[in-house]
Amino acid sequence: MAAGRSECDKDIKLIEKCPKDSLPKVIHGFLDEICGQNVLRFHDFSKVWSIEEWKQLKSSWSSCLRLFIKDNLSVENIEKQLDQFSISKDIQKIVSECLRPRKDEIRLALIEETCNLSQAILKDFDWKLKLIMATDKLANMREPVLSLDLDIKEKTGMKQVSVELSKDELKELITSLEAANKVVLQLKG
């Protein structure tokens, strides 16, 4: 346990290698990743850290920052925590400066992450409305169909499901979704 702890300390301390002026960028990059935005590229920092160091640094800092936000720590407490890792005051200051204005944003992201605990979640959906004007049997028919693309995020990665729905099927889908929404609202109310 103690060995793991010291390992973690070492990973955290890797940040001290970072030049001062790009430190906020690194911290914001980690925070962005927590929020599900653009990921920092190792390429930009290949002169500072080796790839292994970069991985260790990223995972340890990400969990550390998550912890700060999760426990809703005040600035003093954050600095105290960082003191335990024996990190210099300057870096502490920069970290808390980066963290403070984004508190709510990251908190929301974490809550969302917790909400998405089911094995598959809908990330995006896209739809196209098509009008069938004729077939090989019917010269003139007007039937609208909806092709619905669902981007589903699973533990193993993204999966795309495409379905084509007629008007009735779409209605059915919408009513079932509404019923689900109602259940959620009841749970909330």
Binding site: H28, N38, C98, R100, P101, K123, D124, D126, M133
Partner: protein, 533 residues
């Protein structure tokens, strides 16, 4: 006759005759004009009539064209005098009658279209048809010459359509970050927030999504997220928030508290359920586990024995090697005896295990019996305790009763005196009671009045509040309705504007009206004349 000419010229221009702007009346029509107008009219009336639109140079060709045109007109039912000379050497009167006839015969496309019910379906069909015909008319352009599949067309190059799926990309949104809470300019932004918004950690929204295509997707997603959450909140506030009479912050805090409580309750219940189940499983499993372990032991014992056996065998063989091959028979005997002893050991072990297991089961059954006994005993102890408590209570009651009786018995000897004393005591206490009641009444009256007043006030206030809430709700609804109405009106306005733009705005309206007025005046004149006669 000027109006007639105007109408004719306008119609001719509409069907695509290339008439000079300066041509204002039929008088100015040249032979070329006449030929072109007639052949266009004939073609519009019937597609089979294919006459040259221009005047051929040779005289014989001109003659043939003229007779052809004349014949076509006659076939259409033109009664007047007509021949090649009408076209080659036009006179104003002739061509006027001819064109009046032809213009009347033109297919009344626009009129028919107006009569048709212009349903959305038909309009859509027509739009699709026109779009398709436009695309068909255009030249094919290789995909790499079109930027994201867009093809520009039309004379002015302003209309476009999309070809193929090159410019199509899937909808992928990514979360965007943008400054929040800056709508209120009077509020000061905190320093570190400002620093964050200014820094490179807050790039432009256009550079935030991983791909350039997904900018609009992400913006749409962020916007719809905000709109839907706001709408949900407003709905809830209208429904239950307003009635609760709390400020939004208080209401939110309360809701959060309630939800947290509910969540924790649910989780606790689930955890308990899981615990109960697992403990039940444990109990069931315990016996099985013992059995399993014992079985494992048995099998391990076998293995153990087996391995020992093999080991001894090995030993045996090494010994064999040492002792040379001389006494093979004796040794095999010896080995057989050894095996026998091993088997005996095995059997003995088995017996032992069986005996042990028997004892174990016996012990467990005895333990169970003892446990049951213990439970019984504890139950009896509890019962006894209850009984003693009950008896103690009874005892106390009886003691009290005894005390009262004893005092009355003490008072009995000097009965009359004591009765008198008691009466005085009773009287004094009753008078005291009455005075107290009076005093109480005095105090009570104003208090009750005050209470009633307060109550009335409170109820009026409550009803007022209710009324106000109702009013607010009504106002909100009205607001929404008005907004909806405004939107509808806007839509209507737009529709009307487009309709107005689509309408044929010709100068001829005045011409038509003028003509109608003229006709009316003529009729009046005629009437007057008739009256005179």
């Amino acid at each position: 006759m000027e109006e007639v000419d105007n109408i004719i010229i306008h119609t001719l221009r509409q069907i695509g005759c290339n008439l000079n702007e300066s041509v204002l009346s039929l008088k100015e029509f040249t032979t070329d004009n006449v030929i072109e107008a007639t052949s266009t009219c004939l073609r519009v009336i019937n597609d089979a009539n294919q006459f040259s639109r221009t005047l051929p140079p040779s005289m014989s060709a001109r003659f043939r064209l003229g007779t052809g045109l004349a014949q076509a007109c006659q076939e259409l039912g033109f009664n007047g005098v007509i021949g090649y000379q009408t076209f080659l050497y036009p006179t104003e009167g002739d061509i006027r009658t001819l064109f009046m006839f032809l213009v009347e015969r033109l297919p009344k496309e626009s009129a028919e279209a107006a009569d048709e019910p212009m349903g959305g379906a038909i309009l859509l069909n027509r739009r699709i048809a026109s779009e398709l015909s436009k695309i068909l008319a255009g030249t094919w352009i290789p995909p790499f010459c079109k930027r994201s599949g867009i093809c520009w067309s039309g004379k002015d190059g302003k209309t476009w359509h999309r070809e193929g799926v090159k410019g199509v990309h899937p909808f992928r949104s990514s979360p965007l970050k943008y400054p929040k809470g800056l709508g209120d300019l009077t509020r000061k932004i905190s320093k570190d927030a400002k620093q964050y918004y200014d820094s490179s950690a807050m790039p432009l929204i256009t550079s935030q999504p991983p791909s350039r295509h997904n900018i609009s997707d992400s913006i749409l997603e962020a916007n719809s997220l905000k709109v839907s959450s706001d709408m949900e909140w407003e709905n809830e506030w209208n429904h239950s928030g307003l009635a609760s009479g709390l400020t939004p912050e208080e209401y939110k805090a309360k809701k959060q508290e309630r939800l947290l409580k509910k969540l924790s309750k649910n989780i606790q219940a689930e955890v308990q359920k899981a615990n109960v189940e697992s403990s039940r499983l444990n109990k069931q499993d315990f016996n099985e586990m013992i059995r399993e372990i014992s079985e494992q032991n048995v099998s391990a014992g076998h293995e153990h024995v087996g391995s020992r056996f093999t080991r001894s065998e090995k030993l045996q063989f090494t010994q064999d090697e040492e002792k040379e091959l001389a006494a093979v028979a004796a040794m095999t005997e010896n080995a057989g005896a050894k095996i026998d002893t091993e088997e005996e050991i095995q059997a003995r072990r088995k017996e032992e295990i069986d005996a042990m297991q028997g004892r174990l089961t016996e012990l467990t059954s005895r333990l169970e019996g003892l446990e049951i006994d213990m439970r019984k005993f504890t139950a009896t102890v509890e019962q006894a305790q209850e009984q003693t408590e009950f008896l103690q209570r009874k005892n106390k009651e009886e003691e009290d009763a005894y005390k009262v009786r004893k005092r009355t018995a003490d008072l009995l000897p000097d009965a009359s005196n004591n009765i008198a004393k008691l009466e005085t005591v009773v009287e004094s206490s009753s008078t005291r009671l009455i005075t107290l009641a009076k005093q109480w009444e005095e105090h009570r009256k104003p208090l009750i009045e005050q209470y009633r007043e307060m109550k009335a006030l409170n109820s009026t206030r409550l009803s007022e509040a209710q009324k106000k809430i109702e009013q607010i709700r009504n106002l909100r609804e009205k607001m929404k309705e008005t907004v909806e109405e405004v939107r509808n009106r806007d839509d209507l306005l737009k529709d009307l504007v487009t309709e107005y733009q689509n309408m044929v705005k010709d100068v001829n309206r005045s011409a038509y009206t003028k003509r109608i007025l003229e006709i009316v005046a003529n009729i009046k004149k005629q009437k007057n004349d008739i009256d005179k006669v």
